[in-house]
Symmetry: C5
Subunit: 85 residues, 5 copies
């Protein structure tokens, strides 16, 4: 799962059915100092009520619990990262 930070959000009115009702966050992958990596940004469906600047885990996940469709999603809010150097 990608360790990422919520850096914004995206507004999209015209979209496929599986995305309707979803909150679309903008997330940036974090480097080993937990800073966003430039130009490593994606849109992800929020599944956990994540807020701006939260550190999150991002992975493919079932959109709206529909079995046949998966999309990049925020699946956990990270409280602490323990890293040995």
């Amino acid at each position: 799962m990608m360790l990422a930070k919520v850096v914004g959000h995206v507004v999209a009115t015209q979209k496929c059915d599986e995305l309707r009702g979803s909150n679309l966050l903008l997330i940036s992958k974090l480097d080993d100092d937990l800073q966003p990596i430039k130009d490593h940004t994606w849109a992800a469906i929020d599944n956990v009520g994540a807020g701006m600047h939260d550190i999150v885990l991002v992975e493919e996940y079932l959109a709206l619990n529909k079995d046949r469709y998966k999309a990049m999603s925020v699946i956990a809010i990270v409280e602490q990262v323990f890293r040995d150097r």
Copy 2:
């Protein structure tokens, strides 16, 4: 989901059945200033009626609603990107 821009389209007569009837767009991944990244270009099936220069979300999606086949597809047209720096 990849944040990308529609930069062109592709014509392909000879193709697998799952692609028949699909509109094939050329999309380039965007950097954090929403500019296309050089040489980060793919072809994607249009699912939402996207037009030239639209900012879009791109993800694997079921081609022509066939359960057994997924391909890179445009699944949303982005109206606004809010990003905190």
Copy 3:
């Protein structure tokens, strides 16, 4: 789907059952000037009768129509690429 060029082929006698009878092409990803990118080369199953130097679309696809196995495959031959700069 990756925009690629057929640059050769591969001979493999010893292979898993799902690949038997398949034509294995060597394909290189194209840059924005439609030139092959060095060291971005893969092997792909031919599904559309592609020939040497053809520009093609490459994506995961069902090998030999077996539901349980997917592999990188050539799924379309590209006749024209329209790109706005």
Copy 4:
């Protein structure tokens, strides 16, 4: 499967159901000298009881044996790596 080293762990209270009860490790991809590559770090579900500094194999795996959901997971602890140069 990615050859990686366990370099820490992640605490996440708010998460999707499929992750509940999982131990979330921080893993870094290894280079050819078996040293962690900077900024190539992900979170992965522990399936084998891996400990800090273990060399492990990481791959998509079924979270909590649920058929419908896969996430990046530690699936083996590596005891020895034999490499010919």
Copy 5:
């Protein structure tokens, strides 16, 4: 499918059930001169009886023919690579 070379193997006693009985090879992706690319090395399940220094094709494949689990696997031994420059 990735064109790769077998450069070693991995010993792992503690592993998930799907990997039991599998031979775990160390493979490095090849560049366009068929030389291993530094730090582009993975572990892969052997499905075809590949040996040290063999050039092989690597792709996600069903581990031990179990429908629900796929892992990076060696699925063909390459005898010849024909490449036009």
